[in-house]
């Protein structure tokens, strides 16, 4: 499977995606995300404090999952260079309110400077929570990655990995043939060095996202089920399960439209709009950095190329703490994915 971009697909153009989100929105503009926020007094949406610095080090990936909001894949060549990483490091050093650096992709490990970046972050901020979003199969993709579990351990990395379900049929239908088997193998390698093992202090969290046009189940219930099944069937351990709602952009948007589920899915998100979840959306305490150093409110806005609306800066080169903290967050109808039900963020449900 190729990325939408390599297919020259119209939905690889963010303008087309935004057009779909606006023009085909159920209920029209009176029911857009802005009007929902206005009704609860949250518009314009403002940041609370800067706690999470999420760095997307590139769109290159060894997988091509059907739902991927990054449109990542082996054919994507956009990756962050060392100079841009150095600019990230300056921000991480300077911004003392940051308590978490979250490295994502693509498969971040495919960036040739990935290990350098991780070790530098650890040196600069020995105490900070350092997350790597690891797709698991990368660990087995090439012998040079076999030692990743050990590398993560040495650098106190918290590993967050996607596993849509504890069965092969569901996992492979979303992430590709054979992914489930390889993911289990990788999980066992992580367990072997202590990840997910009680008392080790090494955190391994899993991400569940629905394999289709429906909302995720309750996080606690599903976490128990995952723990039980993964242990009984495969002797695999992990710490927490994050349930994440699929955001209607990129390849998931393409799936929704092609399968005739777009309107129904959006109606469902609207009907499940939760004001408390809206108050707790992750863009209020996050800055997301793209591979080329541009700044965004979140990884989804990044993929829609909606840069931060701070007048003084849109790029790491001119970091302006005050300008960023008073910016209005850029929203559109994809945001309904973050506010449905128990809320959704890169750390799972928010409520």
């Amino acid at each position: 499977m190729k990325s939408l971009k390599a297919q020259l697909h119209s939905l690889s153009d963010p303008k087309v995606e935004i057009d779909v989100l606006e023009q085909r929105h159920p209920g029209g503009s009176e029911n857009d995300f802005q009007s929902y926020l206005e009704r609860i007094g949250l518009f314009p949406l403002r940041p609370t404090s800067l706690e999470i610095f999420q760095v997307n080090v590139g769109k290159m990936c060894n997988q091509t999952c059907k739902h991927c909001h990054v449109d990542a894949g082996p054919d994507r060549k956009e990756i962050m260079d060392r100079d841009t990483m150095a600019l990230c490091l300056e921000v991480i050093r300077r911004e003392q309110t940051l308590n978490c650096v979250d490295i994502t992709g693509g498969a971040p490990e495919m960036n040739p400077d990935f290990r350098w970046f991780v070790t530098e972050i650890r040196t600069i901020r020995p105490e900070i929570k350092l997350i790597v979003r690891c797709n698991l199969t990368i660990i087995l993709a090439n012998p040079k990655f076999y030692d990743l579990p050990q590398f993560f351990k040495e650098n106190g990395v918290e590993v967050v990995s996607s596993l849509p379900y504890f069965t092969a049929i569901r996992t492979d239908s979303q992430r590709g043939d054979g992914v489930f088997g390889k993911s289990l193998e990788a999980l066992k390698m992580l367990n072997a060095v202590g990840y997910g093992v009680e008392g080790s202090g090494l955190i391994l969290n899993l991400v569940y996202n629905p394999s289709g046009a429906f909302l995720p189940a309750s996080q606690t219930g599903l976490e128990n089920e995952f723990k039980k099944k993964l242990w009984e069937r495969f002797r695999v351990m992990f710490n927490s399960l994050f349930t994440i709602t699929n955001i209607p952009i990129s390849r998931f948007l393409d799936y929704l439209i092609n399968s005739g589920n777009y309107e129904n899915y959006m109606e469902k998100l609207l009907a499940s709009f939760n004001p408390a979840a809206a108050a707790g959306v992750m863009c209020r305490n996050t800055i997301s950095v793209g591979w080329d150093g541009f700044l965004y409110d979140c990884d989804f806005n990044q993929m829609l190329e909606l840069k931060v609306a701070a007048p003084s800066t849109t790029h790491l080169r001119v970091w302006d703490t005050d300008g960023l903290s008073s910016r209005p967050i850029v929203i559109n109808n994809h945001c309904f994915g973050c506010t449905a039900g128990a809320g959704s963020s890169c750390g799972g449900a928010t409520l």
Binding site: Y165, T167, I169, R170, P210, G212, F214, L215, P216, A217, S218, G221, L222, E225, E267
Partner: protein, 110 residues
């Protein structure tokens, strides 16, 4: 093509109160209490509903509870097993009546 069943009608379920409000209100209040977390989990209730929907062969309920069970974290295997429970009870309900037939045969046969 005109059909008796239209998926869009499912969304209109809530409007049945337009013709009889107080009964509809009571029904929906009852309905939501039934499906709330209780001695049975909401997930277990959803699977029961899915099975009953198949026993009643109600396309609206099958539509609604297929989505609902998925959203309660059930998987394909569990859902199909629930439908088999419905099928087994339906089949069993027919078959167990054959004991009546057998008695009747005895009664009227030499």
């Amino acid at each position: 093509m005109k059909t008796y069943y239209n998926p869009e009608d499912l969304k209109k379920f809530g409007t049945i109160g337009e013709l009889q409000k107080s009964m509809a209100d009571k029904f929906f209040a009852y309905y939501s209490e039934v499906f709330a977390e209780g001695a049975l989990t909401a997930r277990e209730k959803s699977l029961i509903a899915l099975a009953v929907a198949h026993a009643l062969q109600c396309p609206y309920c099958i539509d609604a509870y297929t989505t609902d069970t998925l959203e309660k974290g059930c998987d394909e295997e569990q859902m199909m097993e629930a439908v088999h429970v419905a099928a087994a009870i339906r089949g069993g309900a027919s078959l167990v009546h054959s004991t009546q037939m057998m008695s009747k045969i005895k009664e009227i046969s030499m």
